[in-house]
């Protein structure tokens, strides 16, 4: 019998190239490289933004120019030259489409290759997709169905024009411009993103979804997402990313703000599969993302993420549990392979009474990658009866990769109950032997075990996404873990 050894797996894994590496030739309108106040003004003007927005961007730019790039994360990469990036790139032919037929066939082709057939999703999954291609929203589906319920789901630039009062009230309220280096940069130059508002008492009837991809060479992607769930409402939001193959590193600095008012619930799921670089560690996307949610009384925010891509990831979806009885959840799978580096985790800030948070983080490192969990659980003095449970498990495949955990636990209230546990191990030889013995070959066995390892998190994904997430896990670790 042809034996498939672990070495074979590794070889196959190394030679596995990025499956989604293609480049769509659509004429793009790209700004000259570099960043200064004029560029910020130009972006704002291009997007026909009102005066207050321009000012807001400029303020962010001024803050940013005085900040230094952080280097505390456990990642190494050549620092991007921020003056050598084009901060705006929009697909050129830019009419608003009412139906898919009108969309540039080449663009549709791209989506087909990505496996996100809009028609199919419309029919089968009932998902409204707000497609962001190189930063400008091209098509929004199911808008009408949503509009009947009073739900606003549109691109952020549209929202700035049409719902300025909402945007003005909430933008920067959770992630202020001065929050961190990348958030400031994003606030100054964000080109587009999604905006979502669920009115009082409305349960959003379908999963809202956005697909992002970086297409134009040498452009940064700075999206801004703002989700506001008004009192007693519910929304499940999906975000997925794939990017075509590029040799130079591409920068991605997004900001996501979630606001869950009293009794509201937001479920935010991400599948991130930006180009991780080839097997020599060349190329790949830098993913520096600030994601944060604010929970008012009795509200709940749940972050679920599957991170398989990007050369460097720097991402900490957080929950500020401000209201009493609010709940924060974080479920994450981070897979790193070859030369990928991921420093990811969460922050749970307990401010209100009887707040609860759960953190489940699964890290899988293979090849020469480094995978870190960095998390903060903070119980403030007034957060009576706060409860936290954290679990961080790491799986190592091969001895050239690394797994790290940096949990920060800060408790200032005696009624706090915090549990944290972490384990690091490899796939047990006896587990594989057990499967082999029952006629399951090693590759399948590893797939089975990794699936079991990640199951707690995969289970949290919406159905449509779970399938895709599993596919992504396969792609990133195919050959070695199924």
């Amino acid at each position: 019998m042809n034996k498939f050894t672990e070495d074979d797996l590794k070889k196959e894994l190394e030679t596995k190239e990025y499956e989604y590496g293609f480049y769509t030739d659509i004429e793009s309108e790209t700004f000259p490289v570099g960043l200064n106040e004029d560029i910020v003004r130009a972006i704002s003007k291009k997007k026909e933004e009102p005066e207050w927005m321009t000012e807001w961007r400029l303020e962010a730019f001024r803050i940013w120019s005085e900040m230094e790039e952080p280097d505390w994360a456990n990642v190494n990469y050549p620092k991007p030259d921020f003056q050598n990036i084009s901060y705006y790139s929009a697909p050129n032919k830019k009419p608003k489409y009412d139906s898919l037929d009108e969309v540039d066939p080449e663009l549709l082709d791209t989506f087909k290759k990505l496996g996100i057939s809009l028609d199919e999703q419309k029919k089968l999954a009932g998902v409204a997709v707000d497609v962001v291609m190189d930063s400008v929203s091209v098509t929004t589906t199911f808008k009408k169905t949503l509009a009947e319920k009073g739900i606003i789901f549109c691109s952020i630039s549209e929202a700035i024009k049409e719902h300025p009062e909402l945007v003005k009230k909430y933008i920067g309220s959770v992630v202020p411009q001065k929050d961190n280096f990348y958030a400031a940069l994003n606030s100054a130059v964000f080109s587009d993103g999604s905006f979502c508002y669920i009115p009082k008492g409305v349960r959003c009837p379908m999963e809202l979804s956005t697909y992002f991809r970086i297409n134009q060479a040498g452009t940064g992607q700075f999206e801004r997402t703002l989700v506001v769930a008004d009192e007693d409402s519910y929304v499940s939001y999906l975000e997925g990313c794939t990017a075509p193959m590029r040799d130079e590193n591409q920068l991605h600095a997004a900001v996501v703000e979630l606001i869950a008012l009293d009794d509201a619930e937001i479920k935010y799921s991400t599948v991130q599969n930006w180009f991780p670089g080839n097997k020599d560690g060349k190329g790949g996307v830098f993913n520096f993302v600030t994601k944060r949610g604010l929970c008012e009384k009795n509200a709940k925010i749940s972050w679920t993420q599957v991170e398989t891509g990007s050369a460097v990831t720097w991402k900490y979806p957080s929950c500020i549990l401000k209201g009493d009885h609010s709940v924060g959840e974080f479920y994450s799978i981070a897979v790193t392979n070859n030369f990928q580096q991921a420093d990811t985790g969460t922050k749970m800030i307990h401010l209100g009474k009887n707040t609860k948070s759960t953190i489940i983080s699964k890290g899988i490192s293979a090849g020469k990658s480094q995978n870190s969990y960095r998390g903060l659980v903070q119980i403030n003095g007034r957060a009576e009866n706060a409860r936290n449970f954290s679990q961080c498990d790491s799986l190592l495949m091969g001895n050239e990769c690394g797994a790290h955990t940096f949990p920060y636990i800060e408790a200032k209230n005696k009624t706090a109950k915090i549990e944290h546990e972490a384990t690091t191990s490899k796939i047990g030889e006896d587990q594989i032997f057990y499967c082999n013995q029952r006629g399951i070959d090693t590759e399948k066995a590893i797939a089975l075990i990794v699936n079991g390892f990640s199951k707690e998190v995969l289970n949290k994904l919406p159905m449509e996404f779970a399938v895709e997430a599993q596919k992504l896990l396969e792609i990133s670790l195919e050959g070695s873990v199924g």
């Binding site: 003095g381 955990t405 920060y408 636990i409 549990e419 546990e421 690091t424």
Partner: protein
């Protein structure tokens, strides 16, 4: 004058006073240069994120205390663990007190750093081990620059120390504020065994800052048990730096009992330089008022097939602050490592704070590493159970706290010391349980 400047300017005067061989002189000057550059750590350093030295550095510490002979045995008797026969090395204001000490050169050396640094007999040992294990951090460098006195313990190959060794550091309060920098070196040869108990104690309320460095070298199959008792006055601060280098199949443990002091920082690091090594670090912290205890540990797994165990328990009352920063570092070569780390905390008051940061950094795949950290309260049901059986609330609480700390207490290998620590805890909790635990 800032303490840093004062230390720098005193250094030259200090160098002139002492007479040691030129290599040590070089090590000192090198260390001083290092300290001049780096200075005291601040909260900007990741390792000092939760502990600020600011408040203790502003005192005007005297660096060269006068010799003090007035201390009689009866004054300090209670700090000795007198039910056990032990070798004793006593320092008063950093100066060796011969009439209180009982040192030995019979089979083993339990004597003074000052003689080890000056006598030719010890030159090879000093050359080989002195300042070789401790990393060159700014505080270690400061200690190295001023290293003159401390305990020197040398257990030759195949020797079992017949009695435990006590190291006692007293400060008299003759100076209004005093800075001490004891430097200890423990060298344990192949197959040798030793047990050491260390204590810092000030006899008045005057401010004391101790920046101690202890280097421990355990050769193959050596067994070292080191116990630290930290139960000082409210104005005494201690920065304790202990570094252990272990060779193959050796077994070392360090127990730290922190019940007192204004600010206590324990830097404890193990370096495993052989296979089949076992390293244990355990601690119990029970503090109140505005006390601050910070445990910063590192186990560096360099070779395969080793184990490490960390178990730290803490009970925090009033406005006290507890910090635990434990790090397990497993190198690529260190396959089959078993590393366990556990940190359990109880907050008794609303004003108390715990900052815990249990870290794992792992570069090898065939390992079993885990850490656990909990923060919670005493079990209400257990309290009710005890109270319903006629045990008053205070005693019931104390019983539960004993039970909480028991894992650490029961691994103390000197029974008399175990009793002593139990008594200290009983005093601390202000209870008398009427029976030995």
């Amino acid at each position: 004058m800032e303490l840093k400047d004062k230390l720098i300017s005193s250094f030259f005067a200090f160098e002139e006073q002492i007479d040691v061989n030129s290599e040590v002189h070089n090590i000192r000057s090198e260390a001083m240069k290092n300290f001049e550059v780096s200075g005291f750590p601040s909260r900007k350093d990741e390792d000092w994120k939760y502990t600020s030295l600011k408040s203790i550095l502003k005192e005007d510490y005297s660096i060269f205390p006068k010799k003090e002979d007035a201390i009689e045995y009866k004054d300090v008797k209670k700090y000795f663990i007198h039910d056990i026969d032990a070798y004793t090395i006593v320092f008063i204001d950093g100066i060796y007190s011969s009439h209180l000490s009982q040192t030995t050169h019979d089979k083993i050396d339990a004597c003074l750093m000052s003689s080890a640094l000056t006598k030719d007999k010890y030159k090879p040992v000093i050359e080989k081990y002195f300042n070789k294990i401790a990393p060159k951090t700014s505080l270690n460098s400061l200690n190295t620059a001023f290293s003159r006195e401390g305990a020197f313990i040398n257990i030759p190959k195949n020797t079992v120390a017949d009695k435990p060794i006590q190291i006692l550091n007293f400060s008299t309060g003759n100076e209004s504020a005093l800075m001490l920098q004891p430097r200890n070196l423990v060298v344990v040869g192949e197959n040798a065994h030793v047990q050491i108990i260390e204590r810092h104690q000030s006899l008045t309320d005057n401010a004391v800052l101790t920046n101690a460095v202890t280097e421990i070298y355990a050769d193959k199959r050596a067994m070292v048990d080191y116990y630290k008792i930290q139960n000082d006055h409210a104005n005494a601060s201690l920065i304790d730096n202990t570094y252990v280098e272990q060779q193959g199949e050796s077994n070392c443990s360090v127990h730290t009992f922190s019940f007192g002091g204004k600010l206590t920082r324990n830097n404890l690091q193990f370096f495993q330089k052989g296979e089949h090594i076992d390293s244990t670090m355990k601690g119990v912290t029970i503090i109140e008022d505005k006390q601050h205890v910070d445990h910063n540990t590192l186990v560096h797994h360099i070779e395969p097939n080793c184990e490490s165990h960390q178990d730290y328990k803490g009970i925090y009352d009033d406005r006290s602050v507890g910090v635990f920063n434990g790090k397990v570092l497993v190198e690529k070569e260190a396959q089959k490592t078993n590393a366990f780390q556990s940190n359990n905390n109880i907050l008794v008051s609303d004003k108390a704070t715990i900052n815990s940061k249990p870290q794992l950094e792992i570069f090898a795949d065939d390992v079993a590493c885990s850490h656990g950290c909990t923060i919670g309260q005493l079990d209400e049901d257990a309290m009710f159970y005890l109270k319903s059986r006629g045990i008053p609330a205070k005693e019931a609480r104390a019983l539960l706290m004993y039970a909480f700390a028991n894992n650490v207490l029961s691994s103390v290998k000197i029974p008399e010391l175990q009793k002593r620590v139990n008594k200290l805890i009983a005093n601390k909790l202000n209870v008398s349980l009427g029976f030995d635990l």
